[in-house]
């Protein structure tokens, strides 16, 4: 710590340059956090709970339906603990901009298959008794200011039966983990089945299957697809995480796009800070010579240069992530639920800080080694 005064004095030597370098780190870290959050939103599944789940869709596409009658056949396959089904409703609330995901659910099995999204028992019991009942995620309820007992009209363009569908909000679910999606809206299969046109009756969107053990995933998935092979509705079964990955691919190669932008950010930041550190060290050649002359070792000189670049990286990184912590929730609200929970998790923060420190170390290393190798006699001539 006795060297901190020297490091600090050198850091503040050129205040404008310091601010600009901190600014570049801040912007880069903000962008990094934002990209990581968007990637997370696209690829998020139910975490540990999802490891033991499969998703079965129509082999042609998820927008093609499959029969409800498959449910019992799937349930009989060895290794299947429970099975439930969903339909995408695709409605809006009051205004077309008020989008959020609505699912037609199978109340009997929903909680068995998706236990991490928790509804209090009393609310769930009321929901089961109410044909027009609905359960909203805490985030969506908060977004629209809903409370239990409210009448919720949802307009859909997919099932054009005229006018809005009316629901009674019987419960609000909460996720057990920070990254659980709390934006969904559920209502009962029976109500849906009653109102849709005959051509759609008896058809569901996809099945979610809970396994006895995650190790059974491949065997059960193959068994399910074999069961319905050569039928008019052939199926494609994947693990939930694979299903999520396939879902993201529909939007294009998001992963590649994010990695490309991230790489450009990384190298630009590296060049900017590396150049800044190189200039800073070159300007101080004579002073470094003095330090060496009076007894500071080569490794001390390297330490000073690295400490400076790491301090800039750390402070700039923290500022950028602070900005992200403030801005991302605002951005999430502005997107009107287009993406589920934009969450800046602790792991993203830790990776971002590690990334900032890596850039700081890399940008300080070359100038630091240059300073280390400086011959005192040559350095003193440059005073």
């Amino acid at each position: 710590m006795k060297f901190w005064r020297l490091i600090k004095a050198n850091l503040f030597r050129k205040k404008v340059r310091l601010l600009l370098t901190l600014g570049s780190f801040m912007v880069a870290m903000f962008l990094f956090a934002f990209l990581a959050v968007v990637r997370g939103a696209f690829t998020r599944t139910g975490g540990i709970a999802s490891a033991g789940r499969l998703v079965t869709i129509n082999r042609v596409s998820i927008i093609q339906p499959i029969p409800l009658s498959y449910r019992d056949k799937i349930a009989r396959i060895k290794g299947v603990q429970a099975v439930t089904h969903y339909n995408w409703f695709g409605g809006t609330y009051q205004d077309e901009k008020n989008f959020f995901p609505q699912f037609v659910i199978d109340p009997e099995n929903q909680r068995k298959v998706i236990p991490e999204l928790v509804v209090p028992d009393v609310q769930w019991a009321n929901f089961l008794k109410d044909r027009q009942g609905a359960i909203a995620g805490a985030a969506t309820a908060k977004r629209f200011g809903w409370k239990i007992g409210d009448r919720i009209p949802i307009t859909t363009t997919i099932y054009g039966t005229g006018g809005a569908w009316e629901f009674n909000l019987d419960g609000i679910y909460h996720g057990q983990h920070a990254d659980d999606d709390e934006s969904q809206f559920w209502f009962q299969w029976d109500y849906f089945e009653e109102r849709v046109p005959d051509r759609i009756k008896g058809l569901i969107g996809w099945y979610a299957i809970k396994l006895d053990s995650p190790d059974e995933a491949l065997r059960v998935a193959t068994a399910v697809d074999n069961e319905f092979a050569n039928s008019p509705y052939e199926t494609k079964t994947d693990t939930e995480s694979q299903f999520a990955a396939n879902w993201v691919k529909q939007f294009g190669n998001i992963e590649f796009l994010i990695l490309s932008i991230g790489s450009v950010v990384f190298f630009t930041l590296l060049l900017v800070t590396g150049n800044t550190m190189a200039i800073s060290v070159r300007e101080r050649t004579g002073e470094l010579g003095i330090l060496k002359a009076i007894g500071f070792k080569n490794r001390s000189v390297l330490f000073f240069v690295l400490a400076e670049s790491l301090a800039i990286a750390l402070v700039g990184g923290i500022l950028g992530l602070g900005l992200a912590l403030i801005a991302i929730p605002v951005l999430g609200s502005a997107l009107n639920g287009l993406l589920p929970n934009l969450i800046l998790s602790k792991s993203v923060l830790a990776v971002a800080i590690g990334f900032a420190l890596a850039v700081g170390a890399a940008s300080g290393l070359l100038p630091g080694i240059g300073a280390m190798r400086l011959r005192v006699v040559n350095a003193l001539r440059r005073v």
């Binding site: 020297l6 503040f12 002073e287 003095i290 002359a293 009076i294 007894g295 500071f296 080569n298 006699v377």
Partner: protein
Amino acid sequence: MVSVNNNGQSSALIQVRGLNKTYRRGGEEIQVLQGLNLDVDKGDFVGFMGPSGSGKTTLLNLMGGLDVPTAGTISVAGDEITHMSSGKLTEWRARHVGFVFQMYNLIPVLTAYQNVELPLLLTRLSGTERRQHVEAALSIVGLAGRSNHFPRQLSGGQEQRVAIARAIVSDPTFLLCDEPTGDLDRKSADEIMALISELVAKHAKTVLMVTHDPLVAARAQTVLHLEKGVLVEAAKSQHGVVVGGGA
């Protein structure tokens, strides 16, 4: 007692034997120092004069462990420094040498106090002990009241005083002064030379100084001329002014 002729054993604090330094410039070899011998005792104040390019600064750099000779040896208080590794030499410099340069070479972003404290950061002294040493050094150079001033807030003479305080703060074995008054006006130069003389007289410091100025050199107890890579003792006039090299 300073001697330039001894090439055998002695009990001198600094012993230079058969010192050679050759530089390569382009394809040409330039021999700056040729088989130079020198003995300097503790408490001696030696001035080195000579024309530009005669090798004065090179000699000072070699004796300060900033450069390595082509041949020959330098021993200081029994330590043979010419064969030390770079790391050992750095440690040795921290313990034994105080440097004073023509351009003061203070760190501009540190205060006078912090500049003087720098060599002590390499020691195991506590913060309180460091403070005592720094205050004592600044007091010796007459700048006790300027410890919080940055170099840009000081005159040239005051900056050089801070540099001297930095050189003496860790109580090194000897001081190397390279043109310590070269960037100062006559009045400031006289003050600096009075201070260096006082360090020799009152504090028994050993000082090796390079200068172009005969009036400054005259302050030294012994003045040596470096000519064609060889040291010769200079003569002084009746008024004590250095008048040239002699046998």
